[in-house]
Amino acid sequence: MWRYVVRRLIQIVPVFLGTTLLIYTLVFALPGDPVKALAGDKPLPASVLHALHERYNLDDPFVVQYGKYLGNLLTGNFGETYTGQSVASLMADRWTVTAQLAGTAWIFEMIVGIGLGVYAGLRHGRLGDTAVLGLTTLLISVPTFVVGYTAQLLFGLKLEWFPTAGTQDGWPVSYLLPGIVLGSFGLAYVARLTRTSLAENLRADYVRTATAKGMSRVRVIVRHTLRNSLIPVITYLGVDLGNLMAGSIVIEGIFNLPGIGQQVFQSIQLKEGPVVVGITTFLVLIYLLANLIVDILYGFLDPRIRYD
């Protein structure tokens, strides 16, 4: 078992390197001098330009730049913005907002998603099932930002059930509407996955055996099928955490939440390379870790998968 964990950890390393290299390339190998861009129309004296380039390693060959960056990462130094602020501290300020947003969305999609999925799975082929299918199809089809605006308009402005923007009301109130919107896509997936899984398992031979043993319908569903059915769902939920973080870019924009999603978007526009790379690296790390945890969890849940 531990061999498996170690092996997976080792597998993560090249992926991590690869992805960060990819991002680094995309950001820094692209045309344009970010320092000049930052300065805008004002021409910078050559000495200042030189000093800044020196500071941010912009004159070094690309590989060296990347190497130095990695080195810094290992010491927890995510670099500095062009205005001298530590990227790490910038993230720290905004991190909690995104975490709360993603967390709310995650809990929402898990509870409501599984709930709907179980309901639909039990009523396979009947009206309730079709209704849930229809609803989830709708949620998947409408792009998140459209849902976001519509929700903001309807529930925020017109009905005034939720605050329309900002974090003044703290958790959970400020994060409810954005969280629900962010989680709506994942909710649809979770519900469908649960439904299909449950419907399939309910037709399995061992369900018939359990019934023949005189087990009540409730017990058959809960004890025998639910656990098996939830396995793919849990793995999806684990991975989705990473997706939610990434999806926050759009939602934070709509609801004006000062999280890292909003930050990274602004930084991309402003060509603040170090911030972009820093935040992306962070997100990638989270995503890879979530994947790893899910993989390990899977082994606990399904005894047929014993690490080979």
Binding site: P14, V15, F16, G18, T19, L22, I23, L26, V27, L30, P31, G32, L133, T137, L138, I140, S141, V142, P143, T144, F145, V146, Y149, T150, L153, L157, E200, D205, R208, G242, N243, M245, A246, G247, I249, V250, G253, I254, V264, F265, I268, Q269, K271, V276, T280, L283, V284, Y287, L288
Partner: protein, 301 residues
């Protein structure tokens, strides 16, 4: 369970189980034909495609033409059922023109991703070993990159965001899902007895891949690609909305939504119509994909 399953299967086939030869796609088509959802989705889709191919059937105006600034954001009046956008252009005409780039990108990207996924997935699944590991790692790397982030970074660097550039970006970032599925399908088909039989008869690698593995592995990939079109369209719209996608003077639904965001509280029609068309298009692709999946899945019968 064998007898009950057999009895059910016979009842559904309504007759000659021993008689005619059933093919997966033939059966799927028969199943599809019977389902109203298929026809609804197909009709909607056909409508959107016609909209994209022949906008002139629906509106006399060209994209961004006939705009009168003074009508900016006006509501619907005679001859202008959707009202006007912020530039004073007829919103109905704009929405009609918005179909083309959207659907074009959706289809082009999916076809591109499909081709890549077939090639990489088959090679990885078939040959296994080092090639597989490398491809799997590469897939993981791209998979780990948050999509919107990656796309935004690339697009911000290159100011020209034409349809071609968008397609490229979306393919580069989106090929991973289908490749994974293709690969796992190939792996499971590879161990089937008929492949072994073909090998024993002396078939070479390429022949096995094309004639035996590919046709049997491709069904789920096909289904996913259909669902994928919808997703690509949604992504493209999101990028447009973020301002890093297509730019003026291209007309697209995502762009229309981008513009709408500042005014929709007072002028909801700016949001409603593009959003409606966008959602319906994505919806019909997804419905089609769903129906197709159910029809191709022998267990769901």
């Amino acid at each position: 369970m064998t007898e009950t399953a057999e009895a059910t299967a016979t009842a559904t086939a309504g007759g000659d189980v021993g008689g005619r030869r059933a093919s997966l796609w033939g059966d799927a088509w028969l199943e599809l034909r019977r389902r109203p959802l298929f026809w609804v989705a197909a009709a909607l889709l056909a409508f959107m495609v016609v909209l994209a191919l022949f906008p002139s059937l629906f509106t006399d105006l060209g994209p961004n033409k006939g705009c009168v600034l003074s009508s900016s954001k006006g509501g619907s009046t005679a001859g202008h059922p959707f009202g006007f956008d912020t530039q004073g252009c007829d919103l109905f005409s704009q929405v009609v023109h918005g179909a083309r780039p959207t659907i074009l990108i959706g289809l082009a990207v999916t076809v591109g991703s499909l081709v890549i996924s077939i090639v990489f997935g088959t090679l990885a699944g078939f040959y296994g070993g080092l090639l597989d590991s490398v491809i799997a790692r590469i897939t993981d790397i791209f998979f780990g990159l948050p999509f919107v982030l990656g796309a935004t970074v690339i697009l911000v660097a290159f100011p020209d965001h034409g349809v071609g550039a968008m397609c490229l970006v979306l393919v580069v970032l989106g090929w991973t899902t289908m490749t994974r599925i293709m690969r796992s399908q190939v792996i499971s088909v590879k161990s089937m007895d008929y492949v072994r039989a073909a090998r024993a008869l002396g078939a070479g690698d390429l022949r096995i891949m094309f004639r035996h593995i590919l046709p049997n592995a491709i069904a789920p990939v096909f289904v996913v690609s259909m669902l994928n079109v919808g997703q690509v369209i949604a992504y493209e719209a999101t990028l447009d909305y973020l301002g890093v996608g297509l730019q003026y003077p291209t007309v697209s639904w995502g762009l229309q939504l981008n513009v709408a965001q500042d005014y929709f509280t007072d002028f909801p029609h700016l949001l409603v119509f593009p959003a409606l068309f966008l959602s319906v298009t994505v919806l019909s692709f997804i419905m089609l994909g769903d129906v197709l999946r159910d029809a191709l899945d022998p267990r769901m019968r």
